[in-house]
Each structure stands twice: as C-alpha cells, then as structure tokens.
C-alpha cells in the first residue's frame, strides 16, 4: 500500500474477490429461486399427425438418399412461462419433443420444434405450430412405431450461473402414428 502500484495490486485483488462473491451470490440466489418456484402451467395438444414417404439425407454409408418416412405433426401449445423470467434469466429455450420406445426397446426422443424466448412479454404462448425439424424413425418407417408422447420442455439460460431444465407439459395420452399416406 506504499506506492500507487502496490495500492493498485492490493485493491484490485480485493475488488476481484468481491466481484466473484457477488457473481456467486447471484448464481446461488437464482438457483434457489428456480428450485423452490412453482412449475409453470402449460399444455400441449396434438391436433393431427400425417406420415408421408420421402427421401432422407445423403448418407456416406449408403452413398445415396434412402427412402424414409417423415411424420408431420400439428400441435397446440398453451403456456405461461413468465414466472421463469427473473433478474438472472437471459433467455428460455423452449422445445417440443416426441418420445416413444419401440419394440426393440430403443427409447427415442426427437425434438420437433424449438423457440428462443428472450423477453418476458413473449413468454405467454397460445398458438398452433407445425414441426420445424424432421420427425423420422431410425428404421425409416413408422409402421412398427408405438404411440408417442409429446412434451414441452424448457432450458433456462442465465446471465451467469447454473443452467436449469424442466418439463412444462406432456400429452395426457400417447398418440399413435397413422398409416402413411401414399403419394400418387
């Protein structure tokens, strides 16, 4: 503390430890908040599913694009996720995924839609959506696929601290995949 240089040294060392404790306090506070808050109210309802044949992506394994069935899902989301927005919420990553375990025992989870919500004002969702990403079975056909659950989940991403995941809604009954439409 004798010269300017030693004062800079000392004060900045203490300043950075104070800053670190402040950041830590913010992270702990928001983690506690997320642990003890009531889960948000939300619902997901599937309106219709269509299965259409098409061509999959080019795979080096086959050196071609294989025949592949795609499912097209039309669903309704109602969710009020504004309670998830607090002082340390940078954004919410919302996603809808289809979940089913097929006869071979393979548990599949496929995200079919997502959205980034950055403002509290946009956290109230009530609307109809279609899938953004391809929903396809690993066996290239949905013929043997059992009915699937559709869930709305979120990933809370903070400005600083721990990320949190949660499930906001789930379809009450599993919804079967229909017979594929034949293209003329």
């Amino acid at each position: 503390m004798h010269t300017i240089f030693s004062r800079v040294n000392n004060v900045s060392a203490f300043l950075s430890s104070c800053l670190m404790s402040l950041v830590l306090a913010v992270a702990i506070a928001s983690a506690l908040y997320h642990t003890y808050q009531t889960p948000p109210a939300a619902g997901v309802v599937v309106n219709s599913i269509k299965v259409l044949p098409g061509k999959g992506r080019y795979l080096r394994k086959y050196r071609s694009r294989q025949q592949q069935e795609f499912a097209f899902v039309n669903f309704n989301l109602t969710a009020d996720l504004s309670p998830l927005f607090h002082w340390n919420t940078k954004q919410l990553f919302l996603y809808v995924s289809a979940e089913y375990t097929d006869q071979q025992g393979t548990a599949n989870e496929v995200v079919i839609w997502d959205r980034i919500v950055r403002r509290k004002e946009d956290a109230n969702i009530s609307s109809t959506f279609k899938n953004k990403y391809h929903l396809k079975d690993m066996s290239t056909t949905f013929r043997n696929a059992p009915p699937a659950h559709y869930t709305l989940k979120y990933n809370l991403m903070p400005y600083v601290g721990l990320l949190a995941w949660g499930e906001a809604a789930r379809t009450s009954e599993p919804i079967p995949f229909p017979e594929p439409h034949q293209l003329a």
Binding site: K61, T106, E109, Y133, M138, M157, L162
Partner: protein, 189 residues
C-alpha cells in the same frame, strides 16, 4: 551490462534462487492439480471450456466460459447442451442435443449389466444454425457418448475472452509478457 544482476544474484545466494524456482513450480503444479482434480470430480477431460464460435448465439457468445460435467451415471437428454469432439476435428464444438436414441444392444452382443452401458445415439444442432450437425460429423451417422466431453452446467460471460483476444491479436500476448517481465525487473523486494 549484466554485472549488476550477477552481483545481486550472488548476494541473494544459490538457496534464494532455488526458493524462487520452487515457488514458481509450486504455482504451476497447484494450478495443474486443480485442473485435473476438477476433471476427476466432473468426469470430463476439460471441465472448463471457452466458447469459440457463434453457433449458439444468443445464448453463448465467443469468449464466454462454460463449466462442464460428464457424470458416468447419467444419460444425455434432448435439450442438453453438449461439448463434443469428433475424431479428426481439431476443436470441440458446443451444440444442443436434438435427438437421442437409447439403443438396446442385440442379444448376440454382450449383455450389459446397466442400461448406461448401452450405446446412446445422439444428433446435435447449434441454436444459431439452421440445420443439424450431420455434416460436421465427418461421415459418422450419429454422435456417441465417447465423442462427448461434457454437458454444460454453468455459465460465466466474457471471462474467457482474454484467451481469444490473445489468439486473435498475438501482439497483445507479447505486450503482456513484456509488461510482466518489466514488472518483475522493477519489483525487487
């Protein structure tokens, strides 16, 4: 020119120099120990990574610091943000899991004692990218557990930007080293 320094060195004595070296080595060793210890607890080869690309914007920007875990008793789920490294690719990638397929091994394979030993096939996508990562997998059809370094658990903005700045502007590195050297010369206790 160096006669003064040499004289000072002789005055301090051999033991003092050794002590300095020992201190320096101790700092290095404890840093390395903390890094490896953290890796052991979190079960990942690099528990802290710096974001290098903008493919996860607006969540993660270049220079943000991510803290990873890779618990051996957990499977990955959709929505998890993973850091993975494809053999042959030079840098790890931070992207979100889009699809998981927990495959049950065929009967003529080994019988796995735990479902965790079964292979899990993953597909990932960057939040800021329009399409999934299949083209980044260098011919692989799916990502597997062994490619994954860890799952992002916590986030600290900006702090890692120093390393990026030093890579982008090499002059900065030399300026920093020079400054430190100068200080070491000036400060003589």
């Amino acid at each position: 020119m160096f006669s003064d320094e040499l004289k000072a060195l002789r005055r301090l004595g051999f033991r003092h120099v050794l002590l300095q070296v020992l201190n320096f080595v101790q700092v290095l060793a404890s840093g390395f120990m903390m890094w490896k210890g953290l890796g052991l607890i979190t079960n990942t080869e690099s528990p802290i990574v710096v974001v290098l690309s903008g493919s996860m914007e607006p969540a993660f920007y270049r220079g943000d610091l991510l803290f990873l875990t890779n618990p051996a008793d957990q499977r990955y789920a959709t929505g998890d943000i993973t850091v993975y490294k494809i053999p042959g690719a030079d840098i790890p990638i931070v992207h979100r899991v889009l699809e998981t397929h927990d495959v049950v091994a065929k009967p003529d394979d080994y019988v796995a004692a735990s479902p965790l030993a079964q292979p899990q096939l993953l597909l990932t996508k960057g939040d800021n990218n329009p399409v999934d990562d299949l083209d980044l997998y260098q011919g692989l059809e799916w990502l597997e557990r062994r490619h994954i370094i860890g799952k992002v658990q916590a986030f600290l903005p900006y702090v890692g930007y120093v390393t990026i700045a030093m890579n982008d502007f090499p002059q900065l590195k030399y300026a920093l080293l020079g400054g430190l050297g100068l200080l070491a010369l000036i400060q003589r206790e």
